[in-house]
């Protein structure tokens, strides 16, 4: 595994607030915050309600963009710009695999019919560092 991919995986590991952008039915961009996390790979997951607008939007157009770690660029920490495709999953494996006690504030349990997991499969990730002119880029397994 390359150093870039390893760094990306480490940055995605902790649960964190990220900006999740989608396209609306009328072709406009939309963005909101989500708490997302990786799990040993570049795949990113977060929980949401099945009736949410983001679920409707990714069903209509799965192209999405995530910005992780850029809420405070003045802190000069590296951040990630992630292009990917999203899917809303309600199968038992995903629901049980992602379930954690903190979600009990919002859902009755992993079997709650409103609960589902958005799975983002990135195809291009920029690892940006303030002060460094060009980002490191991970593209479907190719790094440059």
């Amino acid at each position: 595994m390359s150093d870039v991919k390893q760094r990306i995986i480490e940055m995605l590991q902790p649960s964190q607030l990220a900006s999740f952008a989608t396209i609306t039915a009328d072709g406009k961009p939309w963005v909101r915050y989500v708490f997302c996390e990786g799990k040993g790979d570049v795949i990113i997951r977060f929980a949401t309600f099945g009736h949410s607008r983001k679920v409707t939007q990714i069903r209509n157009n799965p192209e999405v963009h995530l910005t992780c770690g850029a809420a405070a660029p003045a802190d000069m920490k590296p951040y990630l710009q992630i292009q990917g495709r999203a899917e809303f999953c309600t199968d038992t494996a995903e629901r049980n695999g992602f379930w954690k006690e903190s979600l009990a504030h919002y859902f009755k349990g992993p079997d709650d019919p409103n609960y589902g997991v958005v799975v983002v499969t990135p195809y291009r990730i920029e690892l940006c560092s303030p002060g460094v002119p060009e980002p490191y880029v991970w593209v479907d397994g190719l790094e440059r």
Partner: protein, 159 residues
């Protein structure tokens, strides 16, 4: 004294510095963090014309924006969501944006004393404004997903 959503939104805009700007090339979204200054509900920012979001804006001026801190608990989240239109500005509008930006970020305001790298970078940027069409104030401390739509004064629309 408790502030009303309108006042909370203006205060939040003034007290924060970074917006996540979502643009689209027509098919795919792109979200980028930008430093902004505000006047009323209008946001001003600067960017390189060759950045991905600037290229998208040249094709499609529709944008969405979030402004928030790096909260660690969903129940603590507060912030702004905006749907609006972004455009490049020049002349008096650009001068006004420079003044507001310089007040908020003194390193930009005192360009004569700024490091050479910043002066060089500033010479290449373009100035933009975002005019909100809809604005929401999110406050999860009042209940999960609590979202108030903020009425935007006519004087802030299409200025």
């Amino acid at each position: 004294m408790k502030m009303k959503p309108f006042s909370k939104a203006r205060h939040y805009l003034q007290m924060h510095n970074v917006a996540t700007l979502a643009t689209s090339d027509g098919r795919s979204p792109w979200a980028a963090a930008v430093f902004y200054a505000s006047e009323g509900h209008i946001l001003y920012f600067l960017s390189s014309p060759s950045s991905r979001h600037s290229l998208n804006l040249a094709q499609n001026p529709q944008v969405a924006v979030t402004i928030q801190e790096d909260y660690s608990d969903w129940l603590d989240i507060k912030g702004i969501q905006i749907e609006g239109v972004a455009s490049e500005i020049s002349g008096d509008e650009e001068q006004r944006a420079r003044t507001l930006y310089g007040r908020k970020f003194p390193v930009i305001g005192m360009v004569a004393q700024a490091p050479a790298a910043i002066v060089k970078a500033l010479a290449k940027v373009r100035w933009y404004k975002i005019v909100p069409q809809r604005m929401y104030f999110i406050d999860n401390s009042l209940g999960l997903g609590n979202r108030d739509e903020i009425a935007i004064p006519l004087s802030d629309n299409g200025r």
